[in-house]
Amino acid sequence: MDKVIYLDNNATTMVAPEVVEVMLPYFAELYGNPSSMHSFGGQGGKGVAAAREQVASLLGAEPDEIVFTSCGTESDSTAILSALYSFPEKHHIVTTRVEHPAVKNLCANIVSMTGHFHRITKLPVRPDGTIDLSLYKESLTDDTAIVSVIWANNETGVIFPVVEMAEIARSRGILFHTDGVQAVGKIPIDLSRTPVDFLSLSGHKLHASKGVGVLYVRRGTPFVPFMVGGHQEKGRRGGTENVASIVGLGKACEVAAQNLDAENSRVKELRDKLEKGILKIVPKSILNGHETERLPNTSNISFEYVEGEAILLHLNQYGICASSGSACSSGSLEPSHVLRAMGIPFTAAHGSIRFSLSVFNTEDEIDFVLEKVPPIIENLRAMSPFWKSGG
């Protein structure tokens, strides 16, 4: 591949150079097991301990509230199942219709997994992807074991009022989990002031490596482990630590804290330039999701009368990487459940493209994309039996 313009950072991110650098020694030199009694292994343990502090510091948490896992999906499963095991007498879960498959499909199969019956409330969203808090309040019952809501949506970037939602759950004595995989590092988070009980994050979404995640577990929250084995993570997650990745994740969190301002200024400006440019130049292009209650890096745009996969492959010719909520690109025959929950008509959902930026993008890249997108759409529309030019 020659030039790559990577605008698919909600799918995964580049491992930052300074992250790679801190990871490398843990492969060939400091390969000891943190659980070993010798000081050689102890060096790995020190790396993990330092990373735990770095992660805690980004979240406004205490180091002992950080449990390292293998990915965001494991963190999500751990949190929800832990709550169900901790409260076997409760049989209700409150979640939303726009969750990542890590939560959506866990809920769909919860009975087979736990052997118990659970009622699931999937809260609807408005056409702009935001949530109605009064419906949320009404959904909570004495039978509710846990609330699990995505903090920032991976497809649209729409941000839910998690602070308020967590407070409401707390006032009802209900455990609250948030999938913060897309939110962490992109918006300010302070768990010392936000009464969430569990938060999931994933390394590869914030410039650390794939295969490492974190579950934040608030002190005092009842906890039942998902992976049972050795005494690692104070018995909360068995399995020898992925030391290099954990050390890298620690560094990535430190860098994310430094870059938070840049995310919300420079990255946001680039995103806005891209988005406003496209919406202005390309007729019948529509923004999906609330304009301001949204991650600074994400833009989900529908191009009516054209199909998303075709757009992606044309972009690919120029080395431009993005995603689509269209049916064809997902391998199913129906477009994204998130866009459908928002009531986006199929005609627009099939032609949706998600651009997601990072601090590594440049203005030149955005200019290049702005130059390439309009003719691609025009070309495909000229080929579309539904497109009448001018209308």
């Binding site: 009368y305 199909e307 996969e309 064809c328 199929f346």
Partner: protein, 277 residues
């Protein structure tokens, strides 16, 4: 990322014969915006009855565009009788093959060609008749049976890949299974068993649930002037809608849990949960 052949990529990036023929002799339109792909094919004949020009307009993914482009190239210069013999497999072969999830794109090409020829001859389309099996994507039994025979399909998944039928709400999976069995019984080919037949597939689950609903639950509710409709099955969750007198009945939640759910758990699967949509 799909694994497309170089020919598919070429026909997608440099499509041949885009547009519409002026004063066409035949016009074929298939698909819809909602389905995610659609194709309008137009052609012109010379005095000898050969296709001298063919053009397409397509809304869809890369393989839909490539299949349309390939089709127009294949039919230019041949007679209608020859064109009639072009199958979806021929289109896929011309392109050096298509991923199996994308075979429906070649089927769309074949269907547009048929529609255009029927339009020229002023005869109705055979596939437009017949029973509507898949409501989500508007596919009839005639189309399904034909795909099963032509492409030697054995599973519901195959049928979905080739015709899209069953790719939406999945309610018709049972009917598709029946069509596969009967079509293959006629052709006399050996019937392969559905993969993973041992675990309760969604089709099987839906079938059993509907049986219990029809046999026991619906008659009981009807006695009180109510009714029930199966909306969806997602994993263990069975979404239903209560109708008639049930709607205003204050005991409807009790009915749902203590009666409907209990019956379904007893007779279908112990883990089922019934929810109202």
């Amino acid at each position: 990322m799909w694994n497309y052949t170089e020919t598919v990529k070429d026909h997608f990036l440099n499509p041949r014969n885009v547009g519409e023929v002026d004063n066409p002799d035949g016009v074929g339109e298939v698909g819809s915006l909602a389905c995610g792909d659609a194709l309008k094919l137009t052609f012109k004949l010379n005095e000898a009855g050969r296709i001298v020009d063919a053009r397409f307009k397509t809304f869809g993914c890369a393989s839909a565009i490539a299949s349309s482009s390939a089709l127009t190239e294949m039919i230019k210069g041949i007679s209608l009788d020859e064109a009639e013999n072009i199958s979806n497999e021929d289109i896929a072969e011309f392109l050096g093959g298509l991923p199996k999830e994308k075979m429906h794109c070649s089927v769309m090409g074949r269907e547009a060609l048929e529609a255009a020829i029927a339009n020229y001859r002023g005869v109705p389309l055979p596939t437009a008749e017949g029973e509507l099996v898949c409501e989500c994507f508007g596919v009839t039994d005639v189309e399904i049976v034909r795909a099963v025979k032509e492409s030697n399909l054995t599973t519901v998944e195959d049928v979905t890949n080739f015709t899209k039928a069953g790719g939406g709400c999945e309610k018709c999976h049972d009917r598709i299974q029946e069509l596969i069995l009967s079509a293959r019984a006629v052709t006399g080919t050996e019937i392969k068993l559905e993969r993973g037949a041992k675990r309760l597939t969604n089709i099987k689950k839906i079938k059993l649930i509907e049986e219990v609903l029809n046999r026991e639950i619906r008659p009981a509710l009807k006695k009180d002037g109510g009714d029930i409709e199966l909306i969806d099955v997602d994993g263990d969750y069975v979404y239903v809608s209560l109708r008639g007198a049930c709607v205003s009945c204050s005991a409807s939640q009790v009915t749902l849990k203590d009666y409907v759910e209990k019956k379904l758990r007893e007779q279908v699967l112990e883990t089922l949960i019934v929810e109202e949509e």
